[in-house]
């Protein structure tokens, strides 16, 4: 009974929760809002767990499928389901939301209910994006999610928040409308909005190429790929910590997920034709953005650029069309979800104390905050792809996959191990180590139990995935194998 509606529950529970939290009213009842949202976030997480435990890893078919009529006139249906590709992203979403809510507990003091409600509503929408099997449903959720994020950055963000949030909204909206045109085209060709039916739709090469570019506009902006990444550093820098975490951990993944759900299986021939283009952009992201990250003076900006470089890895993995590459890409998405989230939270912990994100304002933090410093060190190592952490799994698999295609792809990609280590560790050195830099740093207090709680949770995931990736990779084998097969068959 429950598993029949598990996905709907995971989508709607947080949204209903968000509305309930909004109903608590103004800041006089802030504590009630906090407790209520934590309860809903935990409940949603619990609801999504059976998706994993009851998941049948032996098949590539969609599971937990729900299919109801929605708008009959246009055969738009409310159709949800997960496979090995989307399952873990759903769990990542519900997990990250719990973390975000704990992390914002005392930090957010004004308009508390609205803040937590925005995150809960966004959680529901994001889970919906990962599980939608109807084109219009997917598009509606994909776009609707911009609204809470727009408000989160604009209401609780930094000094330049209005510019950043409008840029964020218009940039992603511009990309998305092209996807809308593509979705309508596919509907007119196939007579339905069923994404899985589109997988089998025969399309000519020129149509495929145009559709590919239309989807590319939406997904590349979201990933973001070089050169349409410029909204991300602005949005990250201005967003409140929670906003940055969700942006990096989940929202960027939606773009990459789009490639797997739409571009590759629906447009295999165009994907092959344009693979050189995608690989080139990915490698530019990995190498060039790595350099850009190196010179950043703002910690959040540095992590934002490091995100772009890591996402370059993901798209590289997808467009080499073998199982290692795609699995590596998905593993990298998950791992990046944990690590970038953790890194942004670490910066948030420092920011809450000193109200600065500039590297030069820190130095010798480890002397005053030893516990926090060890966490941050761990996450930095994971960001650099140290074996034993989750960062290693994805990068290793992608490089392995790239080797089979072209050794130079692998070589270029592998440079990230050097650059990643360089920019992350250099930042860590300047922030955590050395002598205590100034009187503000000298007064720092170590992380509180609440902060330790979310850092421990994330550290556990990073290590679990790094040391024992089997439970993460096992569920995706069948789906990825099916996807590889789909890409191999020409539709011409």
């Amino acid at each position: 009974m429950l598993s029949e509606y598990a996905l709907s529950l995971a989508v709607w529970l947080p949204i209903v929760g968000g509305v309930a939290v909004l109903a608590t009213g103004d800041d006089r009842r802030a504590n009630l809002a906090r407790q209520l949202s934590l309860a809903f976030a935990l409940l949603t997480f619990v609801v999504t767990l059976p998706l994993y435990t009851d998941f049948n890893a032996g098949t590539h078919a969609m599971q937990f499928v729900e299919d109801h009529a929605w708008i009959d006139a246009f055969k738009i249906r409310y159709r949800l389901g997960v496979d090995g590709i989307s399952l873990l992203l759903v769990l990542l979403t519900s997990f990250s939301t719990v973390i975000v809510i704990i992390s914002a507990w005392q930090v957010i003091e004004k308009k508390v209910a609205q803040y937590f409600a925005a995150f809960l509503i966004m959680e529901g929408l994001m889970i919906g994006v990962f599980s939608a099997l109807d084109g219009v449903l997917f598009y509606v959720l994909w776009e609707a999610m911009l609204v809470p994020m727009f408000l989160i950055i604009g209401l609780w963000g930094g000094p330049n928040r209005v510019y950043a949030t409008i840029k964020f909204f218009l940039y992603t909206f511009l990309g998305s409308v092209m996807m809308l045109v593509a979705i309508i085209y596919l509907y007119n060709r196939s007579g339905s909005f069923d994404i899985l039916a589109w997988h089998d739709l025969k399309l000519g090469l020129s149509a495929q190429t145009l559709l590919f570019l239309a989807f590319f506009a939406a997904f590349a902006v979201k990933v973001p790929m070089w050169p349409v990444h410029t909204w991300l550093p602005d949005a990250h820098v201005e967003a409140p910590t929670g906003g940055s975490v969700i942006l990096a951990a989940i929202m960027l993944k939606m773009g990459a997920y789009g490639f797997l759900r739409f571009s590759l299986p629906i447009l295999p021939d165009a994907s092959h034709h344009l693979a050189w283009f995608m690989i080139a952009l990915s490698l530019i992201a990995v190498v060039y953005i790595g350099f850009v990250a190196l010179v950043q003076e703002d910690m959040k900006k540095l992590i934002a650029y490091s995100s772009i470089a890591h996402m370059g890895f993901v798209t590289l993995g997808f467009f080499i069309f073998n199982a290692q590459g795609i699995e590596g890409g998905i593993a990298q998405m998950l791992s990046h979800g944990f690590i970038s989230g953790a890194m942004f939270l670490c910066v948030g912990v420092l920011y809450d104390r000193l109200h600065s994100r500039m590297i030069k304002d820190y130095g010798g933090v480890a002397n005053r905050m030893p516990v926090f410093a060890s966490f941050m060190m761990l996450f930095a190592m994971a960001n650099a792809g140290l074996p034993g952490t989750s960062g290693f799994v994805g990068e290793f698999l992608v490089i392995l996959g790239a080797f089979q295609v072209n050794i130079w792809y692998a070589v270029a990609a592998a440079t990230t191990l050097v650059f990643g280590a360089a920019y992350t560790l250099w930042m860590i050195k300047r922030v955590l180590f050395g002598e205590v830099a100034n009187s503000h740093v000298a007064e720092l207090k170590d992380s509180t139990p609440r902060e330790n709680l979310f850092l421990v949770l994330l550290a556990a995931m990073v290590l679990l995935m790094g040391l024992w990736p089997y439970p993460f990779l096992d569920v995706m084998h069948a789906s990825v194998a099916h996807l590889v097969q789909q890409i191999a068959v020409s539709k011409l």
């Binding site: 609707a144 727009f150 045109v181």
Partner: protein, 473 residues
């Protein structure tokens, strides 16, 4: 009794006018209630005329079909909302007179006649009745200079447009030998679509229609009228006559001149693209929200034309859906301006929306919904409206047009976002709580919540629109 609703509303409007003469000032609210009762009564009468088929009467000058029923019902609902929203506004400004309601009802009768027109004369009659009521309504606040100026402009330009339309109709009469729409359509199948007189007449008809619609390059009156008229009148101008525009186009172009679709398609395409582009771009430069919404309405008319120019049943129903959703959005947006206005103060500058989230989170949320819906952001009804018209033009392979339209929609999103930015991200300069009657609050909330597009009514309305245009052509 097919014309029962028109006769009823018209007689009631006259009756209210007479009753008002004998009423003391403090009893004037009675006129308001009578007007509302009229609308309810008309709705009941309209339900009776609903047959599902297309029935002609008055020597084939008047038709009752699904489309006319739908447009009339929508007209009543919109007018009820308009009257509720404007009640306090009019009272606070000392212009709470029965004429407002009478003119509103007469404008509605004009719209209803157009919705049921099956003859060029009936169509023209309805159009003029509606336009004349609008001229008077705009000039209603006699001592306002901007309002009288707007009324003057609208009257002069509107008269030219009516003249053009009439001239075009006479050309068509010359070419086809009939004024009855169905007969014109029949005659056209026998004449070459490149006949000079025919094309000449068509150009005039399209120009006149575009004037009434407010499509670029015939849009000059729109910002002045929206801005100059008292907000209670703008509310009316922005909603009910849009139904009349659809009726005009559906009866004239679709019902009568569909054999010439090849010619008017190109003309409408130019009008549509220019309207979307210029409407959206100039709206960015406005700091008066009524002017901004005027330019926004120009761009919405462009989107509306997209569905029509696809010249397919699919597109007509998409446009009908679009115009209905637009009327609801426009109603809500102007309703919100009225809500924020008080006696002696018009909340018509964009800054007046600053910090609305601090003053009243609920009303800020409603305005957020309205703005997102206008911008076409899911999950609002405005998104489905855009989805349908774009689907319809892509179906007839006008893909570059679809791409242009969605890209221009992104430009449009900017100025709607700016309103949201003012409401949510800026500090309030004005902190007084929002005062309004309970019925206005309730209806306004209902109005905005209607736009939450995940609700089932969206699908139902699409189906209703599809049926409405079934026996049109």
């Amino acid at each position: 009794m097919l014309a029962g609703p028109e006769i009823f509303v018209f007689s009631m409007a006259c009756a209210i006018l007479v009753i008002d003469l004998f009423l003391p000032a403090r009893w004037r609210a009675l006129c308001y209630w009578l007007a509302q009762l009229t609308l309810i009564g008309a709705a009941l009468l309209t339900f009776k005329t609903m047959t599902g088929a297309s029935v002609l009467t008055f020597n084939h000058m008047f038709v009752a079909d699904n489309l006319s029923v739908l447009l009339k019902l929508a007209g009543y609902v919109l007018t009820v909302f308009v009257f509720v929203y404007s009640r306090d506004y009019l009272q606070e400004r000392g212009i709470f007179r029965s004429e407002y309601f009478v003119l509103g009802l007469l404008g509605l009768v004009g719209t209803m006649v157009m919705a049921s027109a099956s003859h060029f004369l009936t169509l023209y009659l309805g159009l003029e009745l509606m336009s004349l009521s609008l001229y008077a309504m705009i000039a209603f606040q006699r001592d306002s200079v901007v309002a009288t100026e707007a009324a003057m402009k609208y009257f002069v330009l509107g008269a030219i447009a009516s003249g053009m339309l009439l001239y075009g109709m006479s050309m068509l009469y010359g070419a086809t030998g009939s004024l009855e729409i169905a007969a014109v359509a029949r005659a056209l199948t026998k004449i070459s679509p490149n006949d000079v007189i025919l094309i000449f007449g068509l150009v005039f008809v399209i120009a006149g229609t575009a004037f009434k619609l407010g499509a670029v390059p015939f849009h000059m009156w729109v910002p002045d009228v929206y801005h100059g008229a008292p907000t209670a009148v703008t509310l009316y101008v922005g909603s009910v006559p849009k139904l009349a525009s659809f009726a005009l186009i559906a009866r004239l172009l679709v019902g009568g001149l569909e054999p010439l679709a090849g010619s008017w398609q190109t003309m409408l395409m130019i009008l549509a693209v220019l309207s979307i582009a210029i409407g959206n771009i100039i709206a960015i430069a406005q700091d008066n929200i009524k002017r901004m919404l005027a330019y926004s309405s120009i761009s919405h008319m462009g989107f509306f034309l997209l569905g029509i120019l696809s010249a397919s049943p699919n597109g007509y129903s998409a446009s009908l859906f679009y115009i209905l959703v637009y009327a609801v959005m426009s109603l809500g947006a102007f309703g919100m301006i009225i809500l924020l206005s008080r006696s002696g103060f018009e909340a018509e500058r964009l800054e007046d929306f600053k910090g609305l989230n601090q003053r009243s989170p609920w009303h800020a949320f409603l305005m957020l919904l309205l703005m997102l819906s206008m911008a076409g952001v899911p999950p609002t009804a405005g998104f489905y409206a855009k989805l349908l018209v774009i689907q319809s033009i892509m179906k007839v392979n006008l893909i570059p047009l679809a791409v242009a339209a969605v890209l221009l929609a992104v430009i449009g999103a900017y100025y709607y976002l700016r309103v949201i930015k003012l409401m949510y991200f800026d500090d309030a300069t004005e902190r007084s709580p929002i005062q309004a009657r309970w019925d206005m609050r309730l209806l306004l909330s209902f109005n905005a919540l209607l736009l939450v597009g995940i609700l089932p009514w969206v699908g139902t309305l699409m189906e209703v629109c599809r049926r409405a245009i079934q026996n049109l052509a």
